[in-house]
């Protein structure tokens, strides 16, 4: 600590106060740990901070226009609160934000809407509807100089100036402290059907998922899980199957959802679809996927790997020859949630070596603090991209006070 800023925890009640605190931190070069309610603070490299700056007291929904498909919320508003409001109007965030809370030791639904955008949390429906960042219409944020800036707006289409709002999304609080976000919402799906196959090898399971996504039926969920993980679902028929589970979801108005699931089952005959979940059971199943329930009770390092769907199973097979892994494929294989045993480097070396061969990138979502300090939590970038990362960081936070080092050393 070099300056006068009070060490400790700051949770300002207003954007003005927050901007003042950041400006003061910039003046005194006091690094800040930026967070909402802190449910994801264990993700990333440990931040060497002087003070904590939380948006948890910036709560409220200044604007919600269901017929315009837009909601504006202050960054510290609990996501669950906003989702409840949307549900009252039969709307939802179509990207189905994955809830990292439970695997990090929190109850489900505790995170803030700012945290959701900062981490670009996107769930199974991302394959159809896009990621969280795709639904960001605008943000208000305080940059590392303490300037309050706006980017984007609250309307559906907007190419006025650069897309800084999306640029800030997914930057884990290292570019600016978001104080308000405007997001696109969509009507909630009325009817859900889930087609399940049991016992498919990974290669075949992923193949079935890719095939389903190549149909015109607007498939909105495609996961494949190892047997040891599938047994943790609360649906007894799935838990007791004792085999891998491959699940494909369609949603729509009732007649459409039924039509589409029946067509899907025909097309997937070769994979022997064995079970179809109705709306109620489907919702429970996909909510458990969303909360990563299958990884909740274990404590091993948990990786999030993004790759090309069709080679995902080969990637995992190659890795499984070196490490004992448990895997859920989402996004038809494009997203792999992978748990390793508690080994010293959390499997980082093997995982990254395998990724170099197959393509893709990995982020360590859950690991001991010691492990996170010693290995690259976020995928290392090559030198030109790292230089650009540094230049963009500098453009927002020239003194380097916002979550310094959380994503990359020196960023």
């Amino acid at each position: 600590m070099t300056g006068h800023m009070r060490v400790g925890f700051h949770a300002p009640d207003s954007v003005e106060e927050l901007a003042y605190l950041v400006a003061e931190a910039a003046d005194t070069r006091t690094p800040l740990e930026v967070m909402g309610r802190g449910t994801k603070r264990e993700v990333g490299r440990p931040v060497q901070h002087g003070s904590v700056l939380s948006t948890e007291n910036l709560v409220g929904v200044p604007l919600y226009e269901p017929s315009e498909l837009v909601v504006v919320a202050l960054a510290g508003t609990p996501l669950a609160q906003v989702e409840a409001l949307l549900a009252e109007n039969e709307q939802e965030f179509p990207f189905e934000p994955v809830d990292l809370g439970p695997v990090l030791g929190f109850d489900a639904g505790q995170g803030t809407i700012g945290g959701m955008v900062a981490a670009n949390l996107s769930g199974s429906r991302r394959i159809l509807s896009g990621a969280a960042r795709d639904h960001v219409l605008g943000v208000q944020a305080v940059n590392g100089r303490g300037d309050t800036i706006r980017a984007g707006g609250r309307v559906m289409k907007n190419v006025t100036g650069y897309d800084l709002a999306r640029g800030i999304a997914g930057s884990w609080g290292t570019l600016a402290v978001m104080t308000e976000v405007a997001l696109k919402v969509l009507p909630a799906q009325r009817e859900v059907r889930t087609v399940l196959c049991f016992g498919l090898a990974d290669l075949n399971g992923v193949e079935a998922l890719c095939l389903a996504l190549g149909t015109p039926f607007e498939v909105s969920g495609t996961v494949h899980l190892h047997a040891g993980l599938a047994e943790r679902f609360s649906d007894q028929e799935i838990a007791n199957a004792g085999a891998t589970v491959t699940a494909i979801r369609v949603e729509n108005f009732p007649a459409s959802a039924r039509y589409r699931s029946s067509r899907l089952k025909q097309m997937l005959q070769a994979y022997a679809p064995a079970l179809e979940l109705d709306t109620m059971r489907s919702r429970i199943f996909w909510n458990e996927v969303r909360a990563l329930k299958m990884f909740e009770t274990s404590e091993g390092p948990l990786w999030r790997i993004s790759t090309v769907p069709s080679t995902a199973a080969k990637l995992v097979a190659s890795l499984a020859r070196k490490i004992d892994v448990r895997v859920m494929y989402d996004w038809s294989g494009g997203l792999i949630w992978l748990e390793t045993p508690p080994i010293s480097d959390a499997g980082a070396v093997e995982i990254r070596r395998t990724l170099a061969e197959f393509g893709g990138h990995a982020t360590l979502i859950r690991a001991e603090t010691g492990a996170r300090a010693g290995i690259d939590v976020f995928q290392p970038l090559d030198a030109p991209l790292m230089a650009l990362t540094s230049a963009v960081k500098n453009a927002f936070d020239p003194v380097g006070i916002l979550n310094p080092g959380r994503m990359y050393a020196g960023i």
Binding site: E68, R150, V155, L164, A255
Partner: protein, 478 residues
């Protein structure tokens, strides 16, 4: 020329022209170099034809390596570069500068790979928007963003402006449909951002690059998301006795949980011009017309159109007609897509692109009418109603310099109105030179400074597509 001016040229560069051209030929011998006046004339403007400027030269590289060599050379010699696709920008985004090289990617127009299993295609930046869909249509896939200029415009240009289109209500705009780019920075460095997986590591550079109006780098390759075509699609026409009622019907459809694949709005002047031009079968005795298109199997389409009909009945439509055949559907869309051309046959027009919150639609149309009457111009409105992206077309005589100045002032007032109603200056056309000076209506100094700092992170010397996007004064301060 009217009130938007270009930065004054660097005389030293103009004096060195011959030498620069000679060296340019040497650094990229494979590239096509156009130096004669006649040839350069083709590139002196884009679709904002009120502005023209002959560039120093035009270069058409054939590869990323050549783009890199050209940019490195220009960087070392402090020569400005204006990237260009097909030159269909409506905001002067590709307008040359006297002391700049125009770098046109239109020769780089190949499909590099198609990966249907992973639903992605890798293409060169100069391929046309429809060129992508044509390459995969045989397998019933398509590339979703569909700007009206899609037959001509390049995907590189789409990336630069984050283009939208009639069907983006459902499928999103360019930024939602691009998975990766290969971009050459001004210093010649080649970067691969993203790829065929659904997200990229680190900062979301793709978000920053898409919509950066050619000011961050020259995109040479693009990986796009492919979507499987629906089993079928069918539009219906809904005619109303007022813009207000039509606007209220749009809101009611969305509030009922239906997101049509397209939801287009035309007012009376637009309907009449299009009908006269295309004979699309539009009703002529209505004040406002909605084209609502839904997708799915035949049964699904029937069910959805039935629901929409039920909703619309509450608004007492004068006309409700479902397309009965593929020919009729094609005709309905032909009328909409030909709208700008049809109006162009009638008069010069100034096309606006402001966006408003949907609930403000009746007020916005009313006020736009008043503003145009005050300036003594006729206006036709034709736009994407589902997302509030307005396209008022103000009819004027481009050969009358006084009218040009007046129409620009009229347009500026309309855009100011959009911002005041909670919207924005541009939904899909971009800022370019056209709306540069209006940026401060929407953004504070701090907002603009932040954007400019990001620009400088990519292009510290401000050599790429200068004189655009930001008010000229503000940029000078950099």
């Amino acid at each position: 020329m009217s009130h938007v001016s270009l930065p004054s040229p660097d005389l030293a560069i103009l004096q060195r022209r011959n030498d620069i051209l000679k060296q340019l030929k040497k650094v990229a011998p494979g590239a096509t170099l156009i130096t004669d006046q006649e040839g350069r004339r083709t590139f002196e403007t884009d679709a904002l034809t009120a502005y023209r400027c002959l560039p120093l030269a035009v270069v058409l590289p054939g590869s990323t390596e050549e783009v890199s060599a050209i940019l490195r050379f220009c960087h070392e010699n402090h020569i400005k570069v204006v990237p260009r696709g097909a030159g269909t920008s409506l905001c002067g985004g590709a307008l040359p500068l006297e002391d700049a090289i125009v770098l046109c990617v239109s020769r780089m127009n190949k499909v590099l790979s198609i990966d249907l299993a992973n639903r992605a295609a890798q293409v060169e930046a100069g391929i046309t928007n429809t060129g992508i869909t044509e390459a995969v249509a045989g397998d019933d896939f398509f590339y979703a963003p569909d700007p009206s200029s899609q037959i001509a415009c390049t995907v590189g240009g789409n990336v630069a402006t984050n283009s939208g289109g009639a069907h983006c209500l459902k499928y999103g705009v360019t930024t939602n449909n691009v998975l990766g780019v290969r971009i050459v920075l001004m210093n010649g460095e080649v970067l691969d951002i993203g790829g065929s997986s659904l997200d990229a590591p680190g900062y979301d550079f793709l978000a920053l690059i898409v919509g950066s109006e050619g000011q961050f780098g020259v995109v040479t390759e693009v990986t796009v998301r492919l979507i499987k075509a629906a089993e079928g699609a069918r539009p219906m026409l809904l005619g109303f006795d007022s813009n207000e009622t039509a606007g209220a019907c749009v809101a009611a459809i969305i509030a009922a949980g239906i997101i049509p694949v397209a939801l287009e709005f035309m007012d009376r002047p637009a309907i009449h011009v299009c009908e006269h031009f295309v004979k699309a079968g539009y009703p002529l005795d209505v004040e406002a017309l909605l084209i609502v298109e839904v997708q799915g199997s035949e049964d699904e389409i029937d069910t959805l159109l039935e629901k929409i009909t039920e909703i619309a009945e509450d608004f007492h439509p004068l006309v409700m007609r479902r397309s009965q055949s593929a020919e009729e559907s094609a005709k309905i869309w032909k009328g909409r897509k030909a709208a700008f051309g049809a109006i162009g046959q009638l008069s010069d027009y100034y096309c606006m692109d402001g966006v408003i919150p949907l609930s403000k639609l009746p007020k916005a149309l009313d006020e736009i009418g008043w503003i145009c009457r005050r300036y003594r111009f006729d206006v036709a409105n034709i736009f994407h109603a589902g997302d509030g992206n307005l396209h008022p077309l103000i009819l004027y005589n481009a050969n009358d310099p006084l009218q040009l100045e007046r129409v620009e002032s009229c347009g500026a007032e309309i855009l100011k109105l959009c911002v005041e109603l909670g919207g924005c200056l541009t939904g899909e056309h971009g800022i370019g030179i056209e709306k540069r000076e209006l940026m401060s209506l929407q953004f504070s100094d701090a907002d603009l400074e932040q954007q400019m700092r990001v620009k400088a992170a990519f292009d510290p010397d401000w050599l790429l597509n200068p004189g655009k996007v930001f008010p000229l004064e503000g940029r000078g301060a950099q």
